[in-house]
Symmetry: C2
Subunit: 338 residues, 2 copies
């Protein structure tokens, strides 16, 4: 048995830079038609020149025109309209990080004063540039995302024509916010559809399942699954695949991030099948919804997945993937173009 996915998109992707970029970008470009590339390099991607240069480095690393890196700019409240106009053609979205909330986010937003944010966000709204947000406060780890929901709602109210994407949502609270505001959208990772905090810290401690936002409670996972499986039109797949070298994960202070890019579609095929959801819903989740929300048309590519067990490699270069060394139900059979 095999299934075919058309032009899958990964709408939240960390491609890193230099050697890591060279190692891992081809793993995404092989099975996806495009991906929304996060700007949190060191230093973050903050100018037109930096976007163009980073995009060139990505294209060189992937060596194919059959994958589109949809570029993002690191959001700063100081951006003015003329700057945003000048970058509009190069970016698909801006990415807002609360300051210090995750890997390389130190230069992000502190406090969410609407008047301080108004010039930049009104300009983005007028220019129809979506705003992607890592929505966490610096509160208690299990509450951070739910505590951020009022900020999502405040922004969604204040800028009703601005498309706001709640990135990598992990809680029932965020899912519930989706339908309260016309201009709120969301990405969901594959790992947050599969694991809870139990998998990270319920048995042994599992550093390779540790990420930000951290996996939450069973009822949160159920809420995420529901909207993903029904192909909810405001919900897109975004892997948040975040590679770190093995030594940065298996040590005294483990870095946050789960690496799923090369197995994400296979895991989603297995999950949707197990949960009795149709391939059409999976297609909506992994591509069609994102095309509609972002107004993008990725290059055509068909991914043929086969229901044959696949043993996940222990490592991709120096990165340990989710399910390293374990068997998953679906394999990549072939990639067809045109």
């Amino acid at each position: 048995m095999s299934i075919i996915l058309h032009a899958p998109l990964d709408m939240h992707l960390h491609l890193r830079d230099e050697k890591m970029l060279a190692n891992i970008a081809p793993l995404s470009s092989h099975t996806f038609s495009g991906g929304l590339v996060m700007p949190n390099l060191v230093p973050p991607v903050c100018s037109r020149e930096e976007i163009i240069a980073y995009k060139e480095r990505i294209l060189k690393a992937i060596g194919t025109d059959r994958f589109t890196p949809y570029m993002t700019l690191f959001f700063k409240p100081t951006y003015d309209r003329s700057f945003l106009e000048s970058v509009k053609d190069e970016v698909t979205a801006l990415k807002l990080y609360p300051a210090g909330i995750t890997t390389n986010s130190e230069g992000g937003v502190s406090g969410f004063d609407i008047e301080e944010l108004r010039p930049a966000l009104e300009a983005m709204s007028d220019l129809e540039i979506p705003l992607c947000i890592h929505g966490e406060t610096n509160g208690f780890v299990m509450d951070r995302e739910a505590q951020f929901v009022p900020i999502y709602e405040k922004l969604a109210s204040a800028f009703p024509k601005l498309k706001i994407i709640m990135e990598h949502i992990t809680t029932k609270a965020s899912v519930e916010a989706l339908d309260r505001f016309k201009n709120l959208y969301a990405t969901i990772t594959v790992h947050h559809l599969i694991i809870t905090l139990d998998d990270v810290a319920g048995g042994m401690l599992r550093p390779h399942l540790f990420c930000k936002p951290i996996a939450k409670r069973p009822e949160d996972k159920e809420a995420l699954l529901k909207v993903a499986l029904e192909g909810h039109p405001k919900v897109m797949f975004g892997s948040d695949s975040a590679p770190h070298p093995q030594h940065a994960k298996e040590s005294c202070g483990c870095a946050a991030g789960v690496f799923t890019a090369p197995i994400a579609l296979q895991l989603l095929a297995e999950l949707f099948e197990k949960e009795g959801a149709s391939v059409e819903k999976l297609q909506a989740f992994v591509s069609d919804n994102a095309q509609n929300i972002y107004g993008i048309t990725p290059s055509s590519k068909r991914i043929v997945l086969e229901r044959t067990p696949f043993k996940v490699p222990d490592m991709y270069h120096d990165v340990v993937p989710m399910y390293a060394g374990e068997e998953i139900a679906y394999s990549l059979k072939e990639v067809l173009y045109a």
Copy 2:
């Protein structure tokens, strides 16, 4: 400034066996007058002969008669009265583990059927042998202890003269159960008075702060602190100091346990001072309450702690302690006998 603690007791202690025992037991025997030694070796300590042999190995490892290892037996529902009578003189308590709930607990209790447990628990009640319980269900990691509280209460009701010690409690729910049943008592670790899940997984992942039960929410920590700081007479210090070799903590699947034995009293002195609690309350928490609850009289020993910074070693043999390489406020000045 210095403070003196009389005959401190660690009422929940893992001393392990063989080389680890030889390495770490002297660290406890130096600053404590005694400790309740957990029986979860591989295989667990289940017979009179095993208790006697293990006690001998401990005494050999510590090489002093100024520390009393209060021995425990691994509880099994199959123990009958004559067996319990035969071990009574050798044990201070029995330790009940739900099956598979923590390190080396595979042979523990499955299900908590009162009638199945009645013969053993009635005999223990008659013989005045306390029952220590690791109270967690196999539910979601943040809920396990709170879900176990009804089992504590069921046991406390069914065996009203049996002293039941809720071991290493971590939640507000357990604290609240304390005063509802005359025969419920509790131990609290030093790390659960200091950390929450935020410290384990809120920033980087910290394997050396990962333990079972896992550290919970801020309001749970506050509830634990309250009863510890007030010297609540049903609450005792038990470090649950649980050494693992460094490689077992800093790896793909990190073992559960925080190692605090050599710095526990120093940390408690710092904490009680910071929170404005008196040395008398600390004395109650670290010794007097346990003496009253268990009816034990430890050998006299005075621990003089001085308010001088102490840099915690990176390692004690192959074990990484809590606060490795960091400075804490109190140092051990001297140990006085008689």
